[in-house]
């Protein structure tokens, strides 16, 4: 680990020494981006609207786009279909005044819509522009994005129905966002000092070792009906090990009953009968020279199958008598296996030599 620390240390020194300085150490690596390239990719819009393209869009136009491209997932009024979470709902005129969504304080409030959470209108513009519609991201023109954002905001009564949203008035709209004052950076979970956040973690548990807590009582337990809700857990554990998965397809044994061995987990695909033939190949020494699906000394059974498809009788003869010349100059000796085995093997080859 000392090496790792050293690397970090050196990197920090480099960083400090080279602040604002352009490194010239790695000659000929990377090139200057052209303005067109930067414009093509630099699409982000910040909360201060840096990066926002000029343009405008009406609520009415937004509704047309919404119904054509967005409503199938998000619902006509942003209330969502069964597929996605609702975007709009849960905010009030009072929230627009205070900048705090009151329903976020209610533990009984069923869900949290996007408009209840989002503090920055730039986020809506940026995200719709970069990632929507779901199956055709980045296909909306800037004016269409303005329109869609305007329509969404009108559904939440942030802007009136006859509103035209533009780069000129979007900062005024920001001042009406229902949860604009709803974010805090007061926590110890940002890995830097840029916010001047507090340094102390939320909790301060102590690593007590004995007689620490009163006897534990189970306070929350998975209901019985949920035991199999994720499928048979026996099939989600390795088939060997200190513990096996519980067979959740059958009811569990009563507490206090002797430990019952679990059912075997799902096994690899069922034998289709070929396993027996392949066993015969082993028993009769065939696999010393022939692979099932590859050449060894002689051709693979797959190759023989291709060449002599459907010719089981011919193959019985060749197996019994051996031969040379069909597949090269290494002879196959006479085989002494019994007729029944030879027929099974020959039929299997003639039918395709499947594993």
């Amino acid at each position: 680990m000392s090496k790792f620390r050293k690397v970090l240390f050196v990197a920090t020194l480099l960083a400090a020494g080279l602040a604002n300085a352009q490194s010239t150490k790695y000659v000929n690596v990377g090139r200057d981006a052209t303005p067109r390239e930067v414009a093509a990719w630099d699409i982000d819009v910040r909360p201060d609207f840096k990066g926002l393209p000029k343009g405008s869009g009406t609520v009415a136009k937004g509704q047309d786009i919404w119904e054509a491209k967005c409503a199938q997932c998000h619902g006509v009024f942003g209330e969502a279909t069964e597929v996605f979470s609702p975007l709009i709902g849960g905010t009030s005129a009072d929230d627009i005044k205070t900048g705090h969504v009151a329903n976020l304080n209610r533990k009984d409030y069923p869900g949290r819509t996007t408009i209840m959470k989002v503090a920055t209108v730039s986020t809506l513009w940026d995200y719709i522009n970069r990632a929507m519609p779901w199956t055709a991201p980045k296909s909306l023109k800037p004016d269409e994005v303005y329109s869609v954002v305007a329509y969404l905001l009108s559904l939440a009564n942030v802007v009136p129905e006859d509103f035209t949203l533009s780069d000129k008035n979007i900062s005024e709209v920001q001042n009406r966002m229902p949860n604009r004052n709803g974010m805090t950076h007061e926590h110890a979970m940002w890995p830097g000092h840029e916010f001047g956040s507090k340094a102390k973690p939320d909790t301060a548990n102590v690593a007590c070792m004995s007689n620490c807590a009163p006897e534990a009582k189970v306070a929350s337990f998975l209901p019985d009906f949920a035991r199999n809700a994720h499928g048979n857990l026996a099939e989600q554990n390795r088939m060997v090990g200190a513990q096996h998965g519980a067979n959740t397809v059958v009811p569990e044994s009563k507490a206090g009953a002797p430990v019952v061995a679990p059912v075997a987990p799902a096994t690899p695909k069922a034998d289709n009968g070929n396993k027996a033939v392949i066993a015969l190949l082993g028993k009769n020494g065939c696999t010393a020279c022939h692979g099932v699906d590859k050449k060894v000394v002689g051709p693979g059974f797959n190759e023989v199958a291709k060449k002599h498809a459907g010719k089981a009788d011919y193959l019985v003869g060749k197996i019994k008598a051996g031969g040379v010349g069909v597949w090269g100059q290494i002879p196959m000796p006479v085989q002494t296996l019994n007729d029944a085995d030879a027929k099974v093997i020959a039929t299997w080859i003639a039918q395709g030599a499947a594993k």
Partner: protein, 454 residues
């Protein structure tokens, strides 16, 4: 419980339920009709399918015939020629490992393209997550991107905006480091109460890999970034979602943040951002932007969708915490864990994983009585900063109910909190960053359940 009864090798009766319910019903119905052949074949099929586990489940007794048929009858693999080299040009796990899959939690998400799959922690060893079992989180589906056409751009508060090809990024001096990546929403479903049965679904949105790449600071210096005034860096993906997140410059200048292309000795898997992703050690997975196409240096945070609508933590005050990023110290016992069955009384190795977004794990304690008494577990090497750490501890199960917990302490001295402590500050509605101590109840019947204790 007397000592002689605690014997992991004791003979158990043959299991009664190695046919499933429907199978038993069918066998008995057919049996009444006298179709003995059918019965024999049905049992033979069950036994063939289950040969190894059934034998193991019996606690490995000496069979009445005087020997284990698995020993007495030489198997096919001992008496035949095996397969040749390069049969599989890119090898796969044994077919007997097919139960280990990353899985979705039913009902958690509505589409597969904006969804998560969980890593099977209950069956993994050590600290490295096999790349094919690494948890997934996609926001708009995953892609397999042609690396020869992938570009990485730096702009914003820089002297010269730059573009790099993969060739160029891979020419630069690289570092390889082990780090965990954990979704901020890992264990989210258990914030209020127990909701899912196994550790795969409670904690499976954490994985650990060796990542290889170039420190982002190296690339920022090539562009002449303003490291003094440019306090924030926006990272942006090149896929449909074009995921964006704000990263503090102070973390980047420390040299920890990587622009990574390698994962466990190979390239990143497509599901994990092939060919380029950001690695932000200690910080939640959403900041590890996949298919990384651009970083922008700026002087204020960006309030991107995933830091202004999602990945914000609702507090009891009604305020949302924004830019919560660090994954604080956490641990979980992976076996025995929920949904598993202890096969017998006797010796077990309790094993699990611990990690901290603030550095190395200092120690892990394990309780088998629901947190009243604790013993210090063994930490296995390597113990690395902001990486998963494997712990083990011996345990003899006496057959009585037991509540197993683990509690990690990191090098800052921070001790993993209890649910009570965590909820005391954050309530139950914050979704993200649940690092509370996990409890597994071992019942008398050997089945382990996910529980929470008061």
């Amino acid at each position: 419980m007397k000592e002689e009864n605690i014997n992991s090798g004791r003979v158990q009766k043959a299991p009664e339920n190695f046919l499933d319910k429907a199978g038993i019903k069918k066998v008995f119905a057919e049996g009444k009709e006298g179709r003995r052949d059918f019965i024999r074949s049905a049992f033979a099929a069950a036994a063939a399918g289950a040969a190894a586990p059934v034998a193991l489940a019996q606690g490995n007794p000496v069979p009445t015939e005087g020997g284990d048929p698995n020993i007495l009858n030489l198997p096919e693999h001992a008496t035949n020629l095996g397969q040749g080299v390069a049969t599989e040009g890119y090898g796969k796990p044994s077919k007997y490992e097919a139960n280990l899959q990353r899985r979705q939690s039913p009902g958690l998400t509505q589409t597969t393209q904006a969804s998560v799959s969980f890593a099977p922690l209950q069956s993994l060893f050590g600290i490295v997550t096999p790349s094919g079992l690494h948890f997934e989180r996609h926001h708009q589906g995953w892609w397999d991107i042609d690396p020869s056409k992938h570009r990485f751009m730096i702009n914003g508060m820089v002297k010269t905006p730059k573009v790099f090809t993969m060739d160029e990024i891979m020419r630069l001096p690289s570092v390889s480091r082990f780090h965990f990546i954990e979704c901020g929403a890992n264990t989210a479903v258990d914030w209020g109460n127990v909701a899912v049965p196994t550790v795969q679904y409670t904690h499976g949105m954490v994985s650990c890999s060796e990542f290889t790449g170039v420190p982002l600071i190296t690339l920022l210096e090539l562009a002449g970034a303003d490291l003094k005034n440019g306090k924030f860096v926006l990272a942006e993906g090149g896929d449909g979602s074009s995921m964006t997140r704000t990263i503090p410059m102070s973390l980047i200048t420390s040299g920890e943040v990587l622009v990574a292309y390698g994962q466990n000795g190979e390239m990143l898997r497509p599901e994990n951002g092939y060919p380029l992703r950001l690695v932000v050690p200690g910080v939640q997975g959403v900041s590890w932007v996949k298919y990384l196409r651009r970083v922008e240096v700026g002087d204020m945070p960006y309030a991107a969708k995933d830091e202004a609508v999602h990945y914000i933590d609702l507090q009891p005050s009604g305020q949302h915490r924004q830019y919560t990023s660090i994954q604080e110290c956490k641990s979980v016992v992976t076996t025995p864990s929920g949904g598993q069955v202890l096969l017998d009384k006797g010796f077990y190795n309790i094993t699990g994983l611990a990690w901290s977004g603030k550095g190395k794990i200092k120690k892990v304690d394990v309780s088998v009585d629901g947190g009243r008494n604790w013993r210090q577990a063994r930490l296995e090497t390597p113990v690395l900063s902001k990486a998963l750490t494997r712990f083990n501890i011996d345990w003899v199960w006496d057959g009585k109910p037991a509540i197993i917990q683990s509690r990690a302490t990191d090098e800052t001295g921070f001790v993993q909190p209890t649910y009570k402590q965590l909820r005391g500050v954050r309530g139950t509605r914050s979704i993200y960053h649940n690092n509370a101590i996990q409890s597994w109840l071992v019942q008398e019947n050997g089945e382990v359940k996910n529980v929470q204790v008061s």
